[in-house]
Symmetry: C2
Subunit: 404 residues, 2 copies
């Protein structure tokens, strides 16, 4: 008689964003006259840039002609895309990452969920708290997290690194030594980040204790300050301790286009075993490459026209971020993030819980955000708004909040 992976049974409740969707649907049904503005889920709203659209049309046409048709892609990504990534995201920044250290995928969510597979069941993970739920949930499914305590919202075998206003949202080295450290910088959900000097300390720490850093750089394109690293490989020694995950969702609006990549440097080893070889084997066995058309879209992100158009798109969203931040401050809120990231993290007023503030904002202002507690226990009492709406909606939402 077959049995299931019973680690799945340990996962509490439903996914955060499903709960939000249900609450919003219920409110909407009860109040059909209210116009709801969604600044909750981190999904983009601006259309794909013209240079990328052109590249996709061209690639679609190639697929229509027997002379230019493409079948199976190379498992690890087309050379044209891997080279564009290596040149633009790494070599141009002085990071010595070669094209063959880059693994193209269907998105950073897949990679951040799958990367734990190449590690031992016995490794202990450390995560920031609050945190993107996928890091923890994928380790729960793999049986690495111990037991869940519903009272605290914590797993017995996960090392939590609280990020709150008390420590300026900068994670501190944990008391217990982790084997795998998940860092998302600039951070989702807090919208804050750390300096390059502080990131260097993390790299040194990981090399010293023999930990691997899973570095999620999904929001890199939003960095505006000079002392913030665009890649962990800007830090000395990162190639022996860090895997970097990157997304095209937030820098190019590919949430529905699906493209990402992971860097596994050849120098990253456990004893004699190259993690690069292991991830290549994982990709070769359980993945068959991202679509040719989408990889051409990715290449266009790095074209001159693409870069110029995307710079405008990011400026558009960052104008929203600044509108939200200054509007909330005017309204008397305590606000973080929004400078190097498209997320604004606010302290809920009057000691409201995150979910109380969610309901309050939905009912009184018809604005949807994300309760901080959904990202982990230390998110309680905070709330996330995203800059990914339209400018008009963002302004309207802030007007409503200011009028509360």
């Amino acid at each position: 008689m077959f049995q299931i992976n019973d680690n799945y049974q340990k996962l509490p409740g439903s996914y955060l964003f499903s709960t939000i969707a249900k609450k919003v649907a219920a409110f909407s049904e009860a109040n059909p006259d209210k116009s709801i503005i969604r600044l909750g889920i981190g999904d983009v709203t601006q259309p794909i840039a013209p240079a990328i659209i052109d590249a996709m049309h061209k690639a679609v046409d190639e697929m229509a002609d027997v002379k230019t048709f493409r079948g199976y892609a190379p498992d690890l990504g087309y050379e044209f895309l891997r080279k564009a990534i290596s040149d633009n995201d790494y070599k141009a920044r002085g990071c010595d990452i070669e094209a063959d250290e880059i693994f193209v995928s269907d998105g950073a969510k897949s990679d951040s969920g799958n990367i734990q597979e190449i590690f031992s069941q016995d490794n202990r993970i450390a995560v920031c708290d609050p945190v993107y739920p996928v890091y923890v949930d994928s380790n729960v499914m793999a049986g690495r997290t111990g037991t869940y305590d519903a009272a605290t919202g914590m797993w017995s075998n996960v090392i939590y690194m609280p990020c709150t206003r008390e420590n300026n949202f900068v994670p501190e080295f944990p008391k217990e030594t982790p084997d795998m450290i998940y860092l998302c910088l600039p951070n989702n959900p807090t919208g804050t980040t750390i300096t390059k000097a502080r990131l260097q300390e993390w790299v040194d720490y990981a090399n010293k204790v023999g930990a691997v850093i899973i570095y999620d750089g999904a929001y890199e394109a939003y960095i505006s300050e000079d002392n913030v690293a665009h890649s962990i490989y800007e830090c000395e020694g990162a190639k022996t301790c860090a895997i970097e995950l990157k997304s095209f969702s937030k820098n190019a609006g590919f949430t529905g286009v699906r493209l990402g990549y992971t860097v596994v440097p050849k120098e990253l080893k456990c004893g004699d075993v190259s993690l690069h070889g292991m991830w290549a084997r994982r990709h070769g066995t359980k993945f068959n490459g991202a679509p040719y058309i989408i990889q051409r879209a990715g290449e266009a992100v790095y074209s001159d026209a693409g870069k110029a158009q995307l710079k405008e798109q990011i400026a558009y969203y960052m104008k929203n971020a600044s509108t939200i931040k200054s509007g909330l401050q005017e309204a008397g809120f305590e606000v973080y993030g929004g400078v190097n990231a498209p997320y604004i993290w606010l302290k809920t007023p009057e000691q409201m819980t995150s979910w109380e503030f969610f309901d309050y904002l939905l009912e009184k202002a018809n604005v949807v955000g994300t309760p901080g507690s959904g990202f982990g226990p230390s998110g309680e009492g905070y709330f996330r708004l995203t800059a990914f709406g339209s400018y008009e909606n963002t302004v309207a939402a802030l007007d409503r909040i200011k009028a509360l």
Copy 2:
């Protein structure tokens, strides 16, 4: 100090098709004047059908306009595609599979590698021998297969079901009781299949012993005989014991477009736990949907124009299959498959091993095929040719083989 998943270290050598690629590259470099015809890897060569190209252009244009732009897709697939699949692949055949039992993915390779995740580490798998390598390799990575015996090419904790000419390539119920049974029908690599009546016996067997069948229907579009089931759900009781995996790679040439789906019926349970819910959770945590553009391409597969164009494409490949089959028979080979599948499986002549015949065919005829032993020990002494080349190349390859 972090540790790796040491199950990866157990995987022998490199992936079959990498070895073939290296041998062909070496031959080609040593013999630059020879024109090599590739009938090895199962990659298609015909361009994407016009109805599908049109649908992709239209979807690309939608992504360019803020009014029609699409961000994150529903995790489990767009309703328009899930409904088209349910209507055409299931309800039209009398199978009661609802749209919400269909999980859209980036391809059947991913699904066939990932599906084992929702099952217990202690489950014992049964596979046909020879077999598509992903089923076994993904279970090796999960630590489910015991130890490898290089002499026999077999894993200590895998139940093998030999498929050879002695049993007409029809797997027999194993002596030991498996928990998970992988069946690919029509079969890769043998190109053979089983009758619906025989498949019903497998469903009855699985329900009796409490096993789950992972049914890979990637080659379903090539079925030409009436007594062969197009879906396992044509068999009574399949919804309580079977998961079906489907690909768009072979019926619509999507090897480089990437789309597939998995059916997990709601009735499929382990005790009280619904596997449908588990796979939904897996998809929701580690996958972010197939690209909108590609899902529209999938929808066009089921349009009237798409159906007509793909019928021609399949007829084109099946003409190749019949050319290979009759050509080999004329040349005195013992040949199987090619009637309900795009693969031809031949017995190597004069007791050659599969790899001896590979080298012989490459050197003497400059034709590339796939050694049967690469698919498992019972593939030794067999060889696979695919019908996915161009007609001209297929005819030329057979002329060369006949002239040997």
